[in-house]
Amino acid sequence: MIYEASPIAVGLFVFIVLLVLGISFYFAKRTRDSKSYFTASGSIHWSVNGIAFAGDYLSAASFLGIAGMIATVGYDGFLYSIGYLAGWVVALFVVAEPLKRLGKYTFSDALDSTFNSKGIQLMAGISTLVVSVCYLIPQMVGAGALVTPLLGLPHYVGVIMVGSIVIFIVATAGMVSTTYVQFLKGGLLIVFSMVLVVLVLRNGFSLSPSDDYHEFKSVGATVDDDGTVTALAHNPYVIVGQETVGSLRFVKLIENGVETWWKLDLNGGDPVLHETLSIVKTANGKTLYNGEPKANEKFYQVGHFSKLVVDGVEVESVKNLNPAEFFSIIEDSEIVRFATKDFTAAGDKVTVWYQSATPGEKILRPGLKFKVDEGATTSSKLNFVSLMLALFFGTSALPHILIRYYTVPDQKSARKSTIVAISAIGFFYILTLFMGLGAMVNGVLDVESSNMSAPLLAKYFGTALFAIISAVAFATVLGTVSGLIVAASGAVAHDLMDQFMGIQLTDKGKVKAGKIAAVAVGALAIVLGIYFKTTNVSFLVGLAFAVAASANLPAILMLLFWKKTTSKGIAASIFVGMVSALTLIALSPSMYELYESTATAPFPLDNPGIVSIPLSFAVLIIVSLLTQPKRTPTV
């Protein structure tokens, strides 16, 4: 779809960016040494740190990715909210206080606190870098997705813009400014998401979401025995092509010189063609949106009820809902979602999004994305279990979350700030289900990018709210990326250069090395953010969680709770967890789709956690048992 910038959106965007930069400049003056740069000197109040935790955590994945996934596949998107939040239980009950007690700058310090091992320093430093970069990719993708509708700029410009601003922030001020940026945007995100949900509930539901919502057409058809459409019930359309894709049949019709694609539904012996949305890349290099150039604006926003049922009666609209009514009406009604298929027809590369009327009861339970019900296989169920496992164990192994435990003065503050974080994040995640489902039925979806669902839902309620929400979401990305880059730069300057290589840097030199590392990691994130442009950000974050959970968590847990853990066991576990998770991701079906490969992916699951997490634990136990220190015989 076409996005045009509005002056109010641009104005608010510029204001938020300037505010963030202002905070950075202000706190840059207070950053004098490495302790201040990497950990804010442990001086942050627990309540501020708690909301900053929420700011760190409620990244592009939460606001853009989860809401977008719920808007396209219903409850399955909400599973991410549940898993992301449940992960905080591990952080609070198991990791927070001990980690605070053991570490100094980075989580490698905690792992290495009793060993002083080069192996741990190297592996933990590399793992922090890798997980940070994995987590940075979806943030950058989200940044690009936001800038397009907000400022009318291409995706890659958004990625470069965020990368540049964040590199500047991190290279000037470090953890203090990152904390206050996170505090500000975490608070704003929760408040304005709540406003959006209140508006969704007050607005209610309607069969026709807006006055200018596109009415999808249908045409009766005659079909012969082999499924070919031979005639149409009425003009002005003429059949000019047909393609069978799996069990689906698509028909190309022409009207006034405009070619569009339609999907055949046999409809119990009364065949009908239903209009689709299509993007066609023609053999001569043109790209057509519903048969016309993009500028003609024929590529519509979608998502609507096909049946709206209130108390057992079909109605046209209903307003002022309470939260329970919101769900029970969706459960009883039927919603038109848009499924997608790619195929080639006469040299043209065609992507269609066709209407798929889905009962509300299926939308409000798992199954549309994660095949645990109809059409489920063992591997599809394992895929679901693997994701839930990775989300549960990933949170407390994320470097940018772990370093936040070193910004508060003591263990008690670490605990309290985690509880503030859980409350704020939990409340926000409850809102995601309302926002995602609200976007699904209010005709705001851009089928090309599910990531834009929540901001486009805000646009439905006015440009001002859209501008505020988008600007806050942009600040969300800025904040999270800042935290990740601080974590990554800490890994380079502290874990690898200072600890592992033993390079004697002055305090100023260490900060300088951290800043150079920040620039390098930021540049890498920009490149990867452009490459992964079309991938759902929450899916990408799920993978980052799997890498973090596999590489870091077994080491943290076993160090804290198993006395036979050795330094070699920890180093081997981090290495195997990280490499196995990355390898299995690279061999997964989703990545093969990204490679545009027609071959079957060697690893059947999209999320590697169910294999790589136990493997990492097993390696730690086996290597530790094999490398126990020799006991000195006593006489």
Binding site: Y75, I82, A86, G103, E325, V372, D410, R415, G426
Partner: protein
């Protein structure tokens, strides 16, 4: 360079009992979470059954897991405060 904490931490006599309490609560929550995964994988249709106020089990269980984390976090904090008060103040008195 040593690996000590970023700030000077006071000794915490309550560390062990707090860690044990944390583990107990962690296992309780894990059981509820595993229950959610098991129902979803072995009996997904159960998730569609209406439970209360027209809400199905999937919505109630999902919101329940989020709210349970918040409630257990608050309980954990209250209990930790009590343990700290008891053990750390007792230690100060001995000192």
């Amino acid at each position: 360079m040593h690996h000590g904490p970023a700030v000077k931490l006071e000794s915490d006599n309550a560390a062990d009992p707090k860690a044990k309490l944390g583990l107990v609560l962690f296992f309780v929550y894990s059981l509820v979470y595993v229950g959610f995964i098991i129902i979803n994988t072995l009996s997904p249709k159960t998730m569609g059954e209406s439970i209360v106020l027209g809400l199905n089990l999937a919505v109630v269980y999902g919101f329940g897991l989020i709210l349970l984390a918040i409630v257990m976090g608050l309980i954990y904090n209250i209990m930790c405060n009590r343990i700290e008060k008891k053990l750390n103040i007792a230690q100060e008195t001995v000192d």
